[in-house]
């Protein structure tokens, strides 16, 4: 399955994932402390330059990932155009875009395996508290594995529906879809038990 990690290697890919995540936390906290539109604008420009320095594919992907923010930008523009507090509106919008772009940059330059390794290290101390961290990793793997399986099942259900009805399937196909997940869960549980349990 596709992840959001950029296939184009950048120097940022080689930084340790833990470091990138720590920097991201610090940057996000700092961004929410800054109220000056000028400083926020400078930060946004710096971040944009960094993206361009990493190459056009990264910059294009980053722009694409910012697209879901447009309704909020439109809302802020309307709101602050109405109240007349334009500088404040610009500051809020810049902070939002910068924070989201920073986080997306970490996601784009960190492989799924590296992220999983960080997650493993973060939850490792919980084992001593008696929390089942091995089962957590197993659950992550199972969920990732069964996304395409369930997707195929729902496609099959849709096809079966269209073979019988001229109308498009409505919400009703969600019942067999949920049943498919429940049945699959029983099979997986049985398979796990047969192989000695989930530990």
């Amino acid at each position: 399955m596709l992840t959001l990690t950029s296939p184009v290697e950048t120097p940022l890919h080689r930084l340790p994932a833990g470091l990138k995540l720590a920097l991201l936390c610090a940057a996000t906290v700092a961004l929410f402390r800054i109220d000056s539109a000028a400083i926020l604008a400078a930060t946004a420009v710096a971040l944009g330059t960094l993206h361009l320095a990493l190459g056009r594919p990264i910059a294009a992907a980053a722009l694409r990932q910012l697209r879901p923010l447009w309704p909020f930008m439109a809302l802020l523009a309307l709101w602050h155009g109405w109240t007349g507090e334009l500088t404040q509106g610009v500051a809020i919008a810049l902070r939002l875009v910068t924070a989201v772009a920073c986080a997306n940059l970490v996601t784009m330059t960190t492989r799924l395996t590296d992220m999983l390794a960080v997650l493993d290290r973060l939850v490792a101390p919980l084992t001593r508290l008696g929390l089942p961290t091995r089962r957590m990793t197993l659950a992550v793997a199972l969920a990732i594995r069964f996304i395409p399986v369930l997707s195929d099942r729902i496609d099959a259900i849709r096809t079966a529906w269209s073979a019988r009805s001229p109308r498009p399937p409505g919400w009703r196909i969600l019942i067999p879809a949920a049943l498919a997940a429940l049945d699959e869960a029983e099979h997986v549980a049985e398979a796990l038990r047969a192989r000695g349990g989930a530990g």
Binding site: L4, Q65, G170, W171
Partner: protein, 180 residues
């Protein structure tokens, strides 16, 4: 034990799949995205604890960088976007929906309906609205006004969640862990 684990994993996968199946059309031609419906179902079908864990697992996959939110969104950026409050509210919504479905001594349809409403609307908005207010620097009332438009769609999803839970209860009574 294995049963809990596999149900949690499979329902996390189900929420993900509901995010990228084509939109579900309602009889009168209104499209809805089924992802938040999936969150309600996690609660009403799996019960409070398993439902909340399934949603939490789904959110971890998103944070790890898989584009599983509806519209192909994902990665750490969504946790810095204005809708972060709703994401934080997702597992709590499933928990509340599950708890109500488990504890309410009513037939499954009204119990799941009340659960889906208290979880998927009341609890979810209780987190989503402050999140929106915080991220966009608005007051709570102003933020509440912004989400009013989504209320009718969410109420439809509450009804659908109840109907689907009832359908599952009829076809596979044993599979309904919230009433198991």
């Amino acid at each position: 034990m294995e049963r809990s684990l596999s149900h949690i994993a499979l329902f996390a996968a189900l929420i993900a799949v509901l995010g990228f199946v084509p939109q579900i059309m309602l009889p009168f031609g209104v499209p809805i995205t089924a992802q938040s419906l999936g969150v309600m179902l996690c609660g009403t079908v799996l019960g409070a604890r398993r439902g909340a864990l399934a949603v939490l697992l789904f959110l971890s996959l998103v944070a790890l960088g898989l584009p599983l939110l509806s519209g192909g969104r994902g990665g750490l950026g969504v946790f810095a976007s204005p809708t972060v409050g709703f994401l934080i509210g997702f597992p709590i919504a499933a928990f509340v929906a599950g708890l109500v479905t488990e504890k309410l001594r009513l037939a499954i349809l009204p119990a799941a309906g009340i659960g889906a409403f208290l979880g998927g609307v009341v609890a979810l908005y209780a987190f989503g609205i402050p999140g929106l207010a915080l991220m966009l620097d608005k007051t709570l009332t102003e933020a509440a006004l912004m989400v009013v438009a989504f209320l009718p769609g969410d109420l439809i999803k509450v009804v659908l969640a109840a109907l689907i839970t009832q359908g599952i209860a009829r076809m596979r009574p044993d599979a309904l862990l919230s009433r198991g």
